[in-house]
């Protein structure tokens, strides 16, 4: 049985109440951190743990923390990114809903480590009910003295607030999130300066994902070395995977880094195989932004090795034959799903979510969507396919924030691996007229694995 660190007690009734949470050992890390450790020691443990940002980028958390500027007399902030909006990702909602105190505990311990006395949890507006759960839990924590002035008599003060957003994927980008938290449009800032130097209100700020902050709790409790024992290489610890799409058991799974992808998809412990006895056609392993993989590259790498659920293994082969772990938004598509329609779907999403600040993203995402829509409806031509490849290239890397990349990658990857399906839409327009054409019969037979060089 796989070890769990974050979802250990997620089926215990009333875990969201502080008494039940305490009875399961909750808030031990706060006690240990505030009474027995210095902030520097906590940062050191996080560094040792090898924990990497769980929001998608996978940047080492300890290193991010150590970049935080500490000028005299200037407040520092910790902001939790609970804007979870990457299509295919719902792990943070699950965690906050079931176990809000774990996040709060992580926020207290992390705030102490970073020297922050005011911290915010920025949660997407659609999760309004989750914000209520968090606020109730925060009120409990205040009442029991885990928050507020002079916590545990150590002289450490911390105020923790929840701020709701109002519907904007871009606010998951950390500087857009800070703008939004300041009551502005969610326009990403131009970097540098990075938030570690000038973040919220121009003060040094760390922005971390919900799961990252929750992982600080077991790291402080058991030590960074213990955490680093789980996993493979630079992918340490456990990861929450949001599994969705055409599988038998969609849901949130906590896995030890390194579980084979094949086991994750097909074993009953996790996804339980493809639903309705169908075959897998493709998989997006890390949220909508990452390249889609055709079935023959999902469980094996191009060199024939087992693909594992780690940062490194999922990106093995680069963008030619690999993808990314990203946020862990694992979407599986069966043989009846149309890749062209799905690519249009993603493209529409990025078009809808572009903030509009910089020209390649503002104009390019809409253009790509329109071309894809036309292709999908059987009204495109062969040139459209190459045009899409070129547009993706012109957007990628040339924008203020990574949304441009996120919009370009799925299109480029879908055409790379499923070009035949795009061509099919051009060649047989009458077969794709019906928007649900993919659901009745496989639009194309699942392509056999090519012989790898």
């Amino acid at each position: 049985m796989s070890r769990k660190l974050l979802l250990t007690h997620d089926n215990v009734p009333n875990l969201h109440t502080i008494d039940v949470y305490r009875s399961k050992g909750g808030y031990a890390s706060v006690e240990k951190a505030l009474k027995k450790m210095t902030p520097e020691e906590i940062v050191e443990e996080v560094k040792k743990s090898g924990l990497r940002g769980r929001g998608g980028a996978g940047f080492p958390t300890g290193m991010k923390w150590s970049f935080l500027a500490k000028p005299e007399g200037v407040p520092r902030y910790l902001v939790c990114n609970a804007d979870e909006s990457e299509p295919g990702t719902f792990k943070d909602r699950y965690l906050m809903e079931r176990n809000p105190h774990l996040l709060i505990e992580g926020m207290i311990t992390s705030s102490f480590a970073l020297g922050a006395n005011t911290s915010y949890i920025y949660i997407r507006g659609e999760y309004f009910y989750v914000s209520r759960i968090l606020e109730t839990a925060i009120a409990e924590a205040y009442a029991k003295g885990w928050l507020g002035k002079n916590i545990l008599g150590t002289g450490y003060n911390l105020d923790l607030y929840v701020q709701v957003g109002a519907g904007a994927y871009i606010c998951g980008e950390e500087t857009a999130l800070l703008e939004s938290l300041e009551g502005k449009r969610g326009n990403p800032r131009i970097k540098p300066p990075f938030p570690a130097i000038a973040g919220l209100y121009g003060c040094p700020t760390v922005v971390n994902n919900v799961e990252t902050i929750a992982a600080v709790v077991p790291i402080v409790n058991d030590g960074g070395d213990e955490y680093a024992k789980i996993g493979i290489g630079r992918s340490t610890g456990t990861k929450l995977i949001s599994a969705s799409g055409n599988i038998n058991k969609p849901g949130v799974y906590e896995i030890e880094m390194g579980v084979p992808v094949e086991e994750f998809i097909f074993s009953d412990q996790y996804c339980g195989g493809i639903a309705n006895g169908k075959r897998m056609k493709a998989c997006v392993p890390g949220g909508s932004s990452v390249p889609i993989l055709p079935d023959y590259l999902v469980c094996k790498t191009a060199t024939g090795e087992d693909r594992l659920m780690t940062y490194e293994s999922l990106s093995d082969g680069g963008f030619a034959t690999g993808s990314m772990l990203g946020s862990g938004g694992f979407i599986v598509y069966d043989e009846h799903q149309c890749v062209v329609r799905n690519t249009w779907n993603f493209s529409r999403f990025y078009h809808h979510e572009s903030c509009g600040q910089c020209s390649p993203c503002r104009e390019g995402t809409g253009w790509m969507e329109r071309v894809l829509h036309r292709l999908e409806k059987g009204m495109g031509n062969m040139n459209d396919i190459d045009l899409l490849v070129e547009l993706a290239k012109k957007i990628e890397g040339n924008t203020i924030c990574p949304l441009g990349d996120a919009a370009a990658w799925p299109v480029a990857a879908a055409i790379k691996h499923f070009r035949h399906e795009f061509e099919y839409h051009v060649l047989y327009p009458e077969k794709v007229k019906d928007s649900k054409h993919g659901h009745k019969e496989p639009i194309m037979p699942v392509k056999p694995a090519p012989v790898m060089a």
Binding site: H351, S354, S359
Partner: protein, 323 residues
């Protein structure tokens, strides 16, 4: 203060710390300076949006010589000692810039023949240098209704490239901003949202900073093509601004007044609305002399500048002058 050495397209220059790549390139000269549609030296926090000034940093610095992984906006990236930058010498930069220009143009109406900005439009220059001769965009273009924001400024949003300069003028030069960017993505627009006159002493500078024909002077609209006018440096005693402006004359009549722009198209000093809109009588101004206009500019076709050799022939004469 020690100077930092930076090399741009094989030209090396030493600049103080804090200088951006774009500023350094401008110090070297036109042959290396990237185009800029949104950056404006006198407007704090401007730049970074349009992406036309992207350059390649092939060497980060003497200390850390690694190249930067992506192209960077030269207007918002500061120079490091020993940095090496490629602008026109990098095919990658040229390609990316072509892409940006194409994106800027897909929804632009290309109505230059009826646009007051023609002849002094930065987008026109940019697309002349980096654009295609045809559009690959086959969908309906985004359009907006023209609106008046006050009795002096016309907002023609369809032409706007969302450079944010006018928003920053309103933020930094006027007491309370009345317009901004509403909506998001490709339906973003410069707007007052509710009917609202943008009206204060310095609001007219929004027209001068607009790189395209989105904000135009209602007291000048459709009066004349700019290349039929003679721009003259002139000044007057003004209690609100420096009074240093350019008067655009046709014969003895002043058709319009603008700020004085440097070779990068940026005004030297902001002027007030009184100077801009209300002083259209030649008696109001002391004319200093003709303004130097670059030979490549369409405005120079009026060949008024002393010493310019120009032999008129029937082909090169303006076909029809507006009366």
């Amino acid at each position: 203060m020690s100077l930092l050495k930076v090399t741009i397209d094989n030209h090396t220059i030493e600049v103080p710390a804090g200088t951006t790549i774009l500023q350094a390139a401008r110090l070297i000269g036109k042959e290396v300076a990237p185009p800029a549609m949104c950056y404006y030296t006198k407007l704090a926090t401007s730049g970074g949006y349009c992406r036309t000034c992207l350059v390649k940093v092939s060497k980060g610095s003497e200390k850390d010589p690694r190249p930067m992984p992506k192209l960077v906006a030269s207007c918002r990236t500061t120079v490091m000692d020993g940095m090496e930058v490629q602008n026109f010498t990098s095919p990658e930069v040229i390609e990316a810039r072509k892409g940006v220009v194409e994106f800027l143009l897909i929804n632009h109406p290309l109505d230059c023949p009826v646009c007051d900005q023609a002849g002094e439009c930065h987008l026109q220059d940019l697309s002349y240098e980096n654009g295609r001769s045809y559009s690959r965009y086959e969908f309906e273009r985004r359009t907006f209704d023209k609106i008046d924001i006050g009795d002096k400024i016309k907002l023609h949003m369809t032409r706007c490239i969302l450079c944010y300069r006018c928003v920053k003028v309103a933020d930094q030069l006027t007491p309370g901003r009345g317009h901004g960017v509403i909506n998001r993505g490709d339906v973003s627009e410069i707007s007052t949202y509710i009917e609202h006159a943008v009206d204060n002493e310095f609001s007219g500078n929004m027209i001068d900073v607009c790189p395209v024909g989105a904000l135009t002077d209602r007291t000048f609209r459709f009066k004349s093509r700019v290349w039929f006018l003679k721009p003259m440096d002139a000044h007057r005693d003004c209690d609100k601004c420096s009074g240093k402006a350019v008067v655009w004359k046709y014969g003895n009549d002043i058709y319009r007044v603008t700020g004085r722009k440097d070779q990068w198209g940026e005004v030297d000093e902001w002027i007030c609305n009184t100077c801009r809109y209300d002083k259209k009588d030649a008696k109001d101004w002391t004319v200093e002399g003709p303004r130097k206009i670059e030979k490549t500019s369409v405005i120079s076709q009026n060949h008024y500048e002393a010493g310019t050799k120009f032999v008129a022939s029937p082909e090169t004469l303006p076909v029809k002058q507006l009366s």
